[in-house]
């Protein structure tokens, strides 16, 4: 077994732990061109969440990120179908500023301004894939909107990237201090830089999708950035949450750290929205 505590025993025996619900802060949904997904549809994802004890998934739909013709429509449909389990990030593709304008106008038009709390809890940036740096002028309206309304922004970040590497992230964190900036993949590979960003900016959180597979990194991030700055994520339907949980249980960190990562930090971040949306 991969641990002796009750937390580990519960996950090992049951696959989930009632005292340690999981908030998966980085998911997707639907088919995508480069990967075969056996469980890409919404109902399958919900079943996986049930089996792994994932209470809520925040996601951006693959089509919202990769098919400008469809935009965020499929994400909205999915959240409406499972309002107690799903919330979306409004995906931003800066190659189409007119779509961003329309999305932001729709958000502003909603009576629950500054965001539609029963669908979106923030914005999603995927700069590496869209080929436009987070610091580019075309992202500015989205940054400004998120800053003005103190929204979550989940940004894909990757070590060495000229689009969303640590130096670009630093410039954006300095420019938009009221954004709650979640670094998707924690600037993967540039772990020291990720730690430094978390230390330098109180509004930065390190999100752990694809980090769980790199043994030793969890311990480093907990030790140097603090477990109160880390968030659970899986890219679901990409990665099996049980794999991530198994890694979390294997890491030489405390159960308090695991609680922080799985739910406490997310609960704190989402509190302003959870109260409004009834999740």
């Amino acid at each position: 077994m991969i641990g002796e505590t009750k937390l580990a025993q519960d996950f090992w025996e049951l696959g989930r732990c009632p005292e340690c619900p999981i908030y998966d802060m980085h998911g997707h949904m639907g088919v995508w061109h480069s990967i075969y997904f056996p469980r890409a549809d919404t109902a399958d994802m919900i079943r996986t969440m049930d089996e792994c004890g994932v209470r809520v998934l925040l996601f951006s739909h693959h089509m919202a990120l990769f098919a400008p013709d469809l935009g965020n429509t499929l994400a909205v449909e999915a959240v409406r179908r499972y309002p107690d389990r799903l919330r979306a990030y409004c995906a931003v593709n800066p190659n189409y500023p007119e779509l961003l304008d329309a999305d932001l106008a729709a958000l502003d038009a909603d009576p629950h301004h500054p965001l539609i709390p029963d669908v979106y809890l923030g914005l999603k940036f995927l700069a590496d894939y869209h080929g436009i740096a987070l610091s580019d002028e075309r992202y500015r309206p989205a940054w400004q909107y998120a800053d003005e309304h103190e929204l979550l922004v989940l940004a894909h970040t990757w070590g060495g990237s000229p689009f969303d590497g640590p130096s670009v992230v630093r410039a954006m964190a300095e420019a938009y201090p009221r954004v709650k900036l979640l670094l998707g993949h924690s600037c993967h590979g540039e772990w020291d830089a990720a730690v430094q960003l978390a230390r330098d900016f109180a509004n930065i959180y390190l999100e752990l999708t694809a980090v769980f597979d790199d043994r030793g990194v969890l311990e480093k991030l907990v030790r140097e950035a603090g477990s109160d700055r880390l968030l659970f994520g899986t890219d679901l339907p990409w990665f099996d949450p049980h794999q991530a949980i198994g890694a979390l249980l294997s890491a030489e960190i405390s159960d308090e750290d695991r609680h922080n990562i799985c739910h406490r930090n997310a609960e704190r971040l989402l509190a302003p929205f959870l109260g409004m949306s009834g999740v």
Binding site: I2, D213, R215, H242
Partner: protein, 262 residues
């Protein structure tokens, strides 16, 4: 599969025999280093891994000959560890002749071989290593090829086209969804296996078992670069019958090693 079948897993003894583990100091310092066999065995105990097919990182980073020696010395006296040596083309007579090599393997309790063609600058094909691969087919000696470290997909395809009966384990195939690359090989070649390290795909284990049966998957962790527990927990809670979990966790690897004759 109904819920009754799923419950069977609790009644079956799942013993983990990890097919993809190394130790030793890499040329570049890593956060995940396991420098000694004692450390490795300690980590296996902590995780609940009964046995492991292991190699030494020097086999890749420094020299197959020296790494193979370090491996043999390291596993000596440790029955939970079975060795996996590294092979090179032998035109330069860097290894003993074939019968001697296989006898050395047996004496050192080495049950499998690896090649790192990109890193070690050769092509793993009939021209370079035909005599070796023919013997491996005949003796059913498994060859491990790592996509992460040293062998590209096109070369794996080419190798298997030349040696369709080779017992070949494709490991470290990457977490970014490689089904479209390894599934054709599973369909075409009866002795191809994939390991689970980096197979993080949600529902991937279940889909593979449904399409190809449980005999084609080997539990591998990728330790020390990955945690033992990640794929252990994924396998434990996969929606597949208990017998399939037992097979994947270690039964398949035991069978493969039993079938070889050195």
């Amino acid at each position: 599969m109904d819920e009754t079948q799923l419950l069977l897993v609790e009644e079956l003894p799942v013993r983990f025999f990890d097919c993809n583990v190394f130790w030793g100091l890499p040329i570049k310092r890593s956060l995940s280093t396991i420098s000694t066999v004692d450390m490795l065995l300690g980590e296996m105990d902590r995780a609940g891994i009964q046995k492991a097919l292991v190699w030494h990182i020097a086999q890749h980073d420094a020299s197959p000959q020296m790494g193979n020696r370090l491996l043999a010395e390291g596993i000596q006296g440790h029955s939970r560890l079975v060795g996996c040596w590294t092979l090179l083309p032998n035109q330069g007579h860097e290894f003993p002749a074939l019968p001697t090599f296989f006898a050395d393997m047996k004496r050192a309790r080495v049950g499998a071989l690896r090649v790192f063609p990109n890193s070690h600058r050769f092509l793993a094909n009939a021209v370079s290593m035909g005599d070796w691969f023919e013997q491996m087919v005949e003796r059913r000696v498994p060859l491990f090829v790592s996509v992460r470290r040293g062998m590209e997909w096109r070369d794996v395809y080419a190798l298997l086209a030349e040696f369709p009966d080779l017992v070949c384990v494709i490991c470290d195939h990457g977490c970014w969804g490689m089904d479209r690359l390894f599934r054709p090989l599973l369909e075409r070649y009866a002795h191809v296996y994939v390991d689970t390290s980096q197979y993080l795909l949600d529902g991937g284990l279940e889909a593979l078992v449904a399409d190809y049966g449980s005999a084609r998957l080997l539990f591998g962790s990728g330790f020390p670069e990955s945690y033992f527990g990640g794929m252990m927990l994924a396998l434990r809670h996969a929606r597949i019958p208990g017998e399939a979990k037992v097979a994947i966790a270690g039964g398949n690897l035991e069978r493969i090693l039993e079938e070889e004759s050195l």
